[in-house]
Symmetry: C2
Subunit: 199 residues, 2 copies
């Protein structure tokens, strides 16, 4: 890796200001938020944005990496939690809550941005697969459901509440509960299509 010397004090502060401002701006306007608006919100010139993040995509990637890394830090210890079913539900709750604090649904719109995003995202997939496998072995989720299913479905609670402009902040919990009930073995009906595989 490039072991660069530490940033100057003001530069480091501006970098943090920019990340926070960008997260807020993306939350309000989606990924279409303009770099100029982000700079203004951070109280900084537009050129400064591009000094820290050569491309708008690099700025997005930095935020995505930050959030996924935080999520992985939640998931890691849950891999050995005593109750695998509760562990999976807790992970999904953490994921949805993270997106509630600031509306980060835009994270999902972002595709493959760079190698680091791919790496941290792959690690998240591994964690989810392991959590689902353990929960399935434990009888907490139905036999015919896979990690890929959960990866796809984990975004849904925040997504569906996004249609309500003034949704109560915790409404996603309702839909996470409904979807999680659909993952349980009790009363499960056979699924009409085989599970997908993730790239």
């Amino acid at each position: 890796m490039t072991s660069t010397r530490p940033l100057r004090a003001d530069a480091a502060r501006n970098r943090e200001l920019l990340l926070a401002a960008a997260a807020d701006e993306f939350a309000e306007h989606g990924l279409d938020a303009s770099v100029a608006d982000i700079a203004r919100r951070a109280g900084v010139g537009k050129g400064t944005v591009f000094r820290h993040f050569p491309t708008k995509d690099d700025l997005i990637a930095a935020i995505v990496i930050d959030r996924i890394t935080a999520l992985n830090a939640v998931g890691e210890p849950l891999l050995t939690a005593p109750d695998p079913g509760a562990a999976l539900l807790e992970f999904l709750t953490a994921a949805a809550r993270q997106r509630q604090e600031r509306d980060l649904s835009f994270l999902l719109e972002a595709g493959e941005l760079n190698a680091e995003v791919s790496q941290v995202r792959t690690r998240m997939y591994e964690i989810i697969n392991a959590l689902v496998d353990r929960a399935r072995d434990h009888g907490a989720v139905r036999d015919d459901v896979t990690g890929a299913d959960v990866i796809l479905l984990m975004c849904a609670p925040n997504y569906v509440t996004g249609y309500l402009p003034e949704a109560p902040p915790d409404l996603w919990r309702r839909y996470l509960a409904i979807i999680f009930d659909g993952l349980r073995p009790e009363g499960a009906h056979p699924l009409p299509q085989p599970p997908p595989t993730l790239a």
Copy 2:
């Protein structure tokens, strides 16, 4: 209403070409698809687009109205179907299938475009509410679930499969089945949040 005299023959044909081209283009590139591209795809000048649809939003609204109206035509007869649970599932299946044929997830991004959209959308809400009420009375869906819940969740199957660039065309059926299982009374756990109300 404005009882306008019939369109000239070529104008009527161009209007249909435009609607089809716009649906295709929006399906491929989302609502960001440019009017110029739509015109080119329809084999028509850009000015012609704005003659038929004064605004890009008007073009979107025309498509949205078309699709929702078609969906309402499916739902209406289901209101008196003998098996209310099967009727609800059939409606949700029709809704998701419609969005599969051409990827019409962009329909959801479109907010309140004009009065006619609001009207036809309101009718759709009424139909869904009635279908859910009947299914609930019949014991086919859990007691604590409302029409608003189903309205929010009905978009989810197509949404989650949208993350897979090359998803099998029928994959949405798998997630509709999982979510519908979450709506069933068997094995339902209490929901942590009250249902929302729709505007």
